[in-house]
């Protein structure tokens, strides 16, 4: 056990985590050049495209130093606030962390919150100044920031470049020398923490765990503490680039378990695996992951409902955090009300449905969960605008609030405070990290973050500001349902729950945006926004008068046919609401409002 080192990487998106991880794998010979695919650890297409890790992964390396053989388990962590619980479990599985900071950018908000998490878990922090080769690197300033933040010595900061392969050996040496070997009793009753699970369509769910105490042996009966379910340990092993089966994994080490589990829902990240016959106690720290954002997902073509259901079921097999139930919309027919961890998670699900399952779907306006308290003393959860109770029966309504941490260059403070105030935020404090960088914290409603906050933050700070947030509870708010009508017919799928003080403005902007997004049709279309019975805004889309190309002779026919086929295909991505054809993106119009 004294030769094992478990560590993770804490880094902001784009700070070069994946490239640096690739270099470690290469240097230790874990992957050969031939196997080397850029950014080996991010093996989902979407992850590679977005350059971020969505699911965590783990990989084991062998490293020889001063004549001793070491086993280094690198536990990769997701880099987005939507997946912060998974990050917390990955951190809990380690004794140390590489804190990777881009030498030209400095520490970002997401990094700080993960860093605090690591410090809380007593992890040894190895600071790494990455991209040191870039001409605009500012090693002195960023080192100051790091020293200030974690209280280390300047010489503890390793200078590296994943791209150029600089500092890789220093990092590996530091992992061995500075990070403590895991503690634990291999003879005690089994306690292993699940920190990830991976879906394999042939073998079922692969559970990734860290053994804290005891030993897990092939063929034994194991039990998951939170669910109480028992499984046979059909196959256990360690994670190299591919899986390597073995007979036992003892305290301190990381491995995988395959036991015929078919549904991701049965496996909870943070749960404890123990022996069914000689059980140990739960390791604690387990939480059910709760969805933060809700939205409807509907097939564009109503006949594809069953196909969509099958696709959602398959998605849920490998994404336990996706929850859904059936929902019917007057406008869209049958679909699903889904709960997501956050906006990125929602985007990922929609993209996976389109790419992996070839579905064309409409996602309706995302909403957070409100709590309505009725005059009869009961309380109901509201996950969709359609669930909003009749105002006459409602006593008051509460909405979720978050504490947001924003780090930015000092020159953007004014703009950021302005934005947060506009989003009903209250500033708690601001704290200068260096003379030029400031950390601010705000309390604000989660629903305001859902509606396009992040993009706006990025644009007013020219990309410099970073954001992290966590839920702090529910507060009473004056929320109302904003309805949209097309030619006098209410379209439930376009409704949104908004704050009363902003409802008129939202109504007006939403009508304007819809006017932009809905193409002109053969008749005039009236778009109206209403709160209760009161119309607060109206826009008209005039009928198209002319849609015919002048010439159509011998040489024009093929070209013209293809043009009209394209027009027809565009129509397939539209949904008929009453007589009006509404394009897919119009359902998300509220997110695109300036």
């Amino acid at each position: 056990m004294e030769n094992i080192r478990n560590f993770c990487i804490i880094a902001h998106i784009d700070h070069g985590k994946s490239t640096l991880a690739d270099r470690l794998l290469e240097f230790t010979g874990t992957v050969t050049d031939r196997e080397m695919q850029a950014q080996v650890l991010d093996n989902m297409d979407l992850e590679r495209e977005k350059g971020i890790t969505i699911k965590s992964h783990a990989i084991q390396m062998n490293y020889k130093l001063d004549g001793k053989d070491y086993v280094l388990n690198l536990i990769d962590t997701p880099g987005h606030v939507d997946f912060s619980y998974e990050v917390s479990r990955s951190i809990a599985a380690c004794e140390g962390a590489l804190l990777i900071v881009d030498a030209s950018q400095g520490i970002e908000a997401q990094t700080i919150s993960n860093l605090y998490l690591a410090l809380e878990n007593d992890l040894e922090i190895i600071p790494v100044l990455n991209k040191i080769d870039l001409p605009h690197a500012m090693p002195e300033e960023v080192t100051d920031e790091i020293v200030e933040m974690i209280g280390c010595k300047r010489e503890d900061v390793i200078h590296a470049s994943g791209k150029e392969g600089i500092g890789i050996e220093d990092i590996l040496k530091a992992v061995v020398h500075r990070i403590k070997a895991p503690k634990g009793d291999p003879k005690a009753p089994l306690q292993a923490m699940i920190f990830d699970s991976v879906f394999n369509s042939f073998r079922g769910i692969e559970v990734i765990f860290r053994v804290v105490n005891g030993t897990i042996r092939k063929g034994e009966k194991v039990k998951f503490v939170s669910t109480g379910q028992e499984y046979g340990a059909d196959e256990i092993g360690i994670l190299r680039l591919n899986q390597q089966p073995c007979n036992e994994i003892s305290a301190g080490n990381v491995g995988y378990l395959i036991s015929g589990i078919k549904v991701a829902k049965e496996v909870h990240v943070g749960d404890t695996i123990t022996n069914a016959i000689n059980p140990g106690a739960s390791l604690g720290g387990f939480q059910e992951v709760k969805p933060m954002v809700f939205a409807g997902i509907y097939p564009v073509d109503t006949t594809e409902f069953e196909e969509l259901r099958a696709s959602m079921e398959k998605l849920q097999l490998n994404d336990a955090s996706l929850v859904w139930e059936l929902e019917t919309s007057a406008a869209l027919g049958f679909g699903f009300r889904c709960g997501f961890l956050g906006m990125l998670h929602m985007e990922i699900i929609q993209e996976r449905l389109e790419r992996e399952f070839n579905m064309t779907v409409i996602t309706t306006v995302p909403s957070v969960q409100f709590k309505a308290y009725l005059t009869d003393g009961t309380q109901v959860d509201i996950n969709a605008p359609s669930e909003m109770p009749d105002p006459t029966k409602m006593d008051y309504i509460e909405e979720p609030y978050i504490k947001a941490q924003i780090i930015s260059k000092a020159e953007y403070i004014g703009a950021i405070i302005g934005l947060c105030m506009d989003k009903r935020g209250i500033i708690l404090n601001q704290n200068y990290l260096t003379t030029d960088r400031v950390e601010m914290s705000f309390e604000m409603p989660l629903s305001e973050i859902v509606f396009d906050f992040f993009d706006k933050l990025k644009s007013i700070s020219r990309g410099y500001a970073s954001l992290d947030y966590h839920l702090i509870g529910f507060r009473e708010s004056d929320m109302v349902k904003l309805d949209i009508m097309l030619n006098g017919e209410k379209v439930d799928a376009l409704s949104a729950i908004v704050h009363r003080g902003k409802s008129q403005e939202w109504g007006r902007k939403l009508c304007e945006k819809l006017k932009e997004l809905i193409p002109r049709q053969m008749f005039e279309i009236a778009i109206q926004a209403a709160i209760g019975q009161k119309i607060v805004s109206r826009e008209n889309i005039s009928a198209i008068r002319k849609n015919v190309i002048a010439k159509c002779y011998g040489g024009d026919i093929s070209r013209k046919r293809k043009l009209l086929e394209k027009q027809k295909k565009g129509k397939k991505r539209m949904r008929q609401i009453g007589t009006v054809e509404v394009p897919q993106e119009a359902f998300m119009a509220i997110l695109k409002i300036e």
Binding site: M522, R545, K546, A550, G554, K560, R561, Q567, K568, K569
Partner: protein, 345 residues
């Protein structure tokens, strides 16, 4: 070039085997630059290699500035019996915008000379919805055109293609694109004025006095086979459509080596159905649903019953004896309606 086209004709003389030719068309580019003797040569070759019906329509597309009285007499004498004259506008600033070298007087004179030379089947082209063109200017163009009493008028709205100089100007804002509402109004004015003067609006862009519908244009919309010779020319034989290379040198080089340089597109059943819908709906004779059923085993009335009922109810279309045709209002939306009625791929 004429030699090459003659050679291509020999190479492709079997393309329309056993078909009877009732229309010959010299068009695309500026065929009025040809000498009458060259046209005579081409017509003689056609007579030699194909079955040409008596009374065949022989059209020459011409620019007003290429046509003086003697040239017109010569064209008439070698067998041209229909002229399609690209007048476009009677306003000099619009003609300049279109890079036309002729002026309004030349245009008028050329039609009068053609009459004198004995042409009794003359079509003129007019363009509307030009940048900054007013309704009054357009009405004046129509009035001038009617004074010339052409048998046939083709009229197109200015269409900006993205790959052209105009397209680039439109993109950079250098050229203001007339919006569809103006184009719609101009087309409505045109239809109203020409119908009042005894022209039939027999296709979206084509108007004719009784008996003077263009046989040539109509054959495209009726799905007839055709053979196109020369660079860029398209041909169709009910199975495929093919088109020669556009580059003159590449064309000449290939023909010289005894090969016709073309690309070919095989048409699927859906392609054929869609092409029929798109072309037939533009015409006054409409889309014959029985023809679709018999020829392609496609029941349009059944497949699109709700949509068809809807466009009839809203007066975009009418249905008589299984023939679906568009009303005046519907013709302005012919492309949208055709696209909606297409078989999805």
């Amino acid at each position: 070039m004429v030699e090459a086209i003659l050679q291509e004709m020999v190479l492709r003389k079997d393309y329309l085997i056993e078909e009877r030719i009732d229309t010959i068309y010299f068009g695309g580019g500026t065929p009025s630059l040809l000498a009458a003797s060259e046209i005579a040569k081409l017509l003689a070759a056609i007579q030699k290699h194909f079955i040409v019906l008596p009374g065949v329509e022989v059209t020459l597309e011409a620019n007003p500035d290429d046509l003086d009285f003697d040239t017109l007499v010569a064209f008439k004498s070698v067998g041209i019996n229909r002229l399609s004259i690209g007048i476009q506008s009677f306003h000099s600033h619009h003609l300049q915008f279109l890079h036309r070298v002729h002026n309004a007087d030349q245009a008028k004179n050329c039609v009068q000379d053609a009459r004198k030379a004995g042409f009794d089947n003359i079509s003129i082209d007019l363009i509307y919805a030009l940048t900054n063109e007013t309704d009054e200017e357009w009405r004046e163009d129509i009035r001038q055109a009617l004074l010339l009493e052409p048998e046939h008028i083709s009229s197109y709205s200015l269409t900006i293609e993205p790959q052209t100089v105009f397209g680039k100007w439109a993109k950079t804002g250098k050229l203001r694109v007339t919006d569809d509402d103006v184009a719609a109004r101009h087309l409505e004015i045109l239809i109203e004025q020409l119908e009042a003067s005894g022209y039939e609006h027999y296709e979206v862009s084509n108007f004719a006095k009784a008996g003077f519908q263009s046989k040539h244009n109509s054959s495209y919309w009726k799905g007839a086979k055709y053979l196109g010779l020369g660079p860029s020319a398209h041909s169709y034989n009910k199975v495929s459509r093919q088109f020669n290379v556009a580059n003159n040198h590449a064309y000449l080089r290939s023909i010289k080596s005894g090969e016709v340089p073309f690309e070919k597109e095989i048409l699927s059943r859906a392609d054929k159905v869609n092409e029929y819908i798109l072309t037939s709906l533009r015409t006054s004779w409409g889309c014959n649903c029985d023809y679709l059923k018999n020829e392609f085993d496609y029941d349009l009335l059944l497949e699109q019953s709700a949509y068809i009922q809807d466009i009839i109810k809203n007066e975009y279309a009418r249905l008589d004896n299984a023939v679906l045709s568009l009303t005046k209002k519907g013709k302005l939306l012919a492309d949208k309606i055709a696209s909606d009625l297409f078989i999805s791929l």
